[in-house]
């Protein structure tokens, strides 16, 4: 009989770790029953389960038990280890909340090897398209699938492609938008680095469908590894005859080239991106005409996000209907999110549309760091908004997030806990947009600056009640009058934080207090003499010599010299330093 291994982990974070107690229990029980030869107990670092009590996983059968009590140990040894039976009551049926479609190869194949991609079923969709399908049929499949652009706006991909296909022009272009610039988002980078051939395949299929013979990868220069891997993939594809003339023996020809973005956020906007490829200054221009009518070099062009293109091969291979079976009524398929902020397990997750935000944060992300409570979730980066915790059970899709005043965006998801200040957050995103505004249109250039100014005023404790109305007014003007998506959405973080957290703004304005203790001008540190043990730790650590006193006389903080770094608060072991 093969030796069994019992993996042990306490998945509760709120209580004291009980792993060692259980380890002893299991070990003793095994010794007492003379089963040491048949099984061993192992404590592991992570099991992918959270808040399910003490859990064990038994291999090779891969049985998982959760919520164990001391009394269960004997039973498990008796029945499962000795008798090879499964105990139904404690059994945990693992339902993976994640669903890997776009990321299915990421982390499994060697991204620098074409053979690996082929072995994983790669380029089968391309062969099917080139040799068996007409462009109209590809559009038809896309229409059936209900795939929508993954860059944020969620425009139906089939419509974009169909417009460009219908245009009568000898030259057309396909562009892959890899100018991912949202703070905290890195889905596209991971796809380009982990599975570049899937994006390549998607682009060739797109080219064939609209009748284009030339495509561009627009990748930001801050992603050198992605650029290197994509270039390698292009070289391999050319060598293998998957790019170039007469691909796979058909009479279709296509070539690809990489263009680097030079670090401007606005170049992720499609008209600015086109200008950037043409060698012009990366500023947007008004639409219509849309790029699918008049795009790169004034020729019909389709611009798709990396994730959209990476969806294409599996969509074509499995068929549109299969793709449409996943997701909600209007949003189909899966979406990759970059889960960051105050969650325990930050990382990339891919989930079917329609999953709730709570499931993403708590079941996949493992909950909030340091057992604090969640306050809100920010999605969509600087163009998105915040979703307060009472709406965490909303299913994720384009419409629902839009209704809540946020957007799907490219897929950044940032968890915000009670120690984060929403005014500070709005200020951060707005500052980002002000820095990145290209300055072409007045609403964005001036409006953004004024909004930022008002927010700074509020966070410094100089805000007045009229400021709230001004914020709303300017935000509205920016939304309506800006030239491109950057300006139109730059005020979203302000709008949505005022919508859900007006109280917090009012506390800043009326009481001149920051409830989260983030806005430096509104917090004061103080040493409480009764609690102070005069150890001098704060005195030693203060970077600005703002703590006065001695070990005999005790210490006080000089509010004029204090830079409010919070170091004294952090180092004090007796909680004698308070923050208010």
């Amino acid at each position: 009989m093969q030796k069994k291994i019992i993996y042990l982990k306490d998945t509760d974070s709120t209580q004291q770790d009980r792993v060692n107690d259980f380890y002893t229990l299991f070990s003793n029980e095994l010794r007492d029953t003379n089963l040491i030869e048949q099984a061993s107990v192992v404590r592991i670092a992570d099991m992918g389960l959270y808040e399910k009590g003490v859990a064990v996983k038994i291999l090779p059968e891969n049985i998982v038990y959760t919520g164990l009590k001391n009394t269960d140990v004997k039973k498990i040894i008796e029945e499962t280890i000795k008798g090879n039976k499964v105990i139904k009551e404690s059994l945990y049926e693992k339902k993976s909340k994640q669903m890997r479609a776009v990321l299915k190869n990421c982390g499994y194949i060697d991204p620098e090897s074409l053979e690996d991609y082929l072995a994983a079923g790669g380029y089968k969709a391309l062969a099917k398209v080139l040799l068996e399908m007409k462009p109209e049929q590809v559009v038809e499949e896309l229409k059936k699938s209900g795939l929508r652009g993954r860059g944020g706006a969620g425009y139906p991909t089939w419509m974009k492609w169909n417009f460009a296909r219908g245009m009568n022009s000898p030259e057309k272009y396909v562009i892959c938008n890899g100018d991912e610039g949202d703070p905290g988002a890195y889905m596209d980078r991971s796809v380009l680095e982990g599975d570049p051939h899937s994006v390549l395949e998607g682009m060739i299929i797109a080219g064939y469908t609209i009748g284009s013979s030339k495509g561009y990868f627009y990748i930001r220069a801050e992603y050198p590894l992605a650029v290197e891997r994509v270039q390698k993939a292009i070289d391999q594809a050319v060598e293998a005859g998957l790019l170039g003339n007469n691909i796979l023996g058909s009479n279709y020809s296509f070539e690809l080239e990489i263009r680097l973005g030079a670090g401007a956020f606005v170049c992720g906007e499609e008209t600015a991106l086109i200008a950037s490829i043409e060698g012009k200054r990366g500023t947007p221009h008004p639409r219509p005409p849309y790029p699918s009518v008049k795009g790169l070099w004034e020729k019909p062009t389709i611009i798709n996000n990396v994730e959209t293109l990476a969806n294409i091969p599996q969509l074509i291979f499995g068929g549109g209907a299969k793709f449409a079976s996943i997701g909600t009524e209007k949003s189909k398929g899966t979406k990759v999110f970059a889960l960051t902020g105050k969650v325990k397990n930050s990382g990339l997750v891919e989930v079917p549309m329609g999953i709730t935000i709570r499931e993403i944060i708590f079941d996949i992300g493992g909950g909030i760091l340091n057992n604090r409570s969640i306050k809100a979730v920010q999605t969509g980066g600087p163009s998105g908004g915040v979703i307060p915790q009472e709406f965490l059970d909303t299913p994720v899709d384009y419409e629902n997030l839009g209704k809540l005043g946020s957007i799907m965006g490219s897929g950044g998801m940032i968890a915000i806990d009670e120690t984060d200040c929403l005014v500070d957050l709005a200020k951060f995103y707005l500052k980002f947009c002000v820095d990145e505004s290209c300055g072409k249109c007045a609403p964005c250039r001036l409006g953004g600056y004024q909004l930022l100014h008002l927010l700074e005023k509020i966070s410094e404790g100089k805000g007045e009640m009229e400021d709230l109305d001004k914020l709303k007014k300017i935000s509205y003007a920016m939304q309506k009058a800006s030239l491109c998506g950057l300006g139109q959405s730059a005020s979203n973080p302000v709008f949505s934080t005022i919508r859900y957290f007006e109280e917090e703004y009012k506390k800043h304005i009326i009481e001149k207090k920051c409830p989260a203790g983030k806005c430096k001008a509104l917090i004061y540190f103080k040493i409480l003499p009764p609690k102070c043990k005069k150890c001098g730790l704060c005195f030693k650590n203060c970077p600005s010599a703002a703590i006065l006193g001695s070990r005999e006389a005790g210490y006080v903080i000089d509010p004029i010299k204090c830079v409010k770094c919070g170091l004294c608060f952090d180092v004090c072991k007796f909680k004698a330093v308070t923050k208010e």
């Binding site: 592991i44 670092a45 992570d46 982390g107 991204p111 082929l118 994983a120 397990n345 990382g347």
Partner: protein, 114 residues
């Protein structure tokens, strides 16, 4: 390399991607590299050679668990497939010695096991 045809694509054995029975994969996307996957990969290659351990060591993309990078996935015949997290140079050497050669797991670094 000769030009690929449709038959080539369809003929490819999907099992080939399983790379045989023993292999080590290192997550080498930006997230992994930033956490030190480069060094881990180099150490694995170098030490495996030094110690005459024959195992296929390869790069792969991001597995998603960015908070515990660098990630190293190890599959050795007779043992379950293990994903190690927060691997550094020393742990890499221990993986070769303990897991690959002596067929014992490194308990403290297991993040997923199948």
């Amino acid at each position: 390399m000769k030009k690929i045809t449709k038959e080539d694509i369809e003929k490819i054995d999907p099992l080939k991607k399983d790379l045989g029975k023993s292999w080590i994969k290192v997550g080498m996307s930006t997230c992994g590299v930033a956490a030190g996957a480069d060094e881990v990969y180099a150490t694995l290659i170098e030490e495996a050679k030094k110690r005459n351990i024959e195992i296929d060591i390869r790069k792969c993309g991001c597995q998603g668990a960015c908070s515990v990078e660098p990630l190293v996935e190890v599959n050795v015949e007779g043992l379950p497939k293990v994903l190690y997290g927060r691997v550094n140079k020393d742990v890499a050497i221990t993986i070769l010695e303990r897991h690959v050669r002596n067929k014992k797991l490194l308990h403290d670094y297991i993040f997923e096991i199948n």
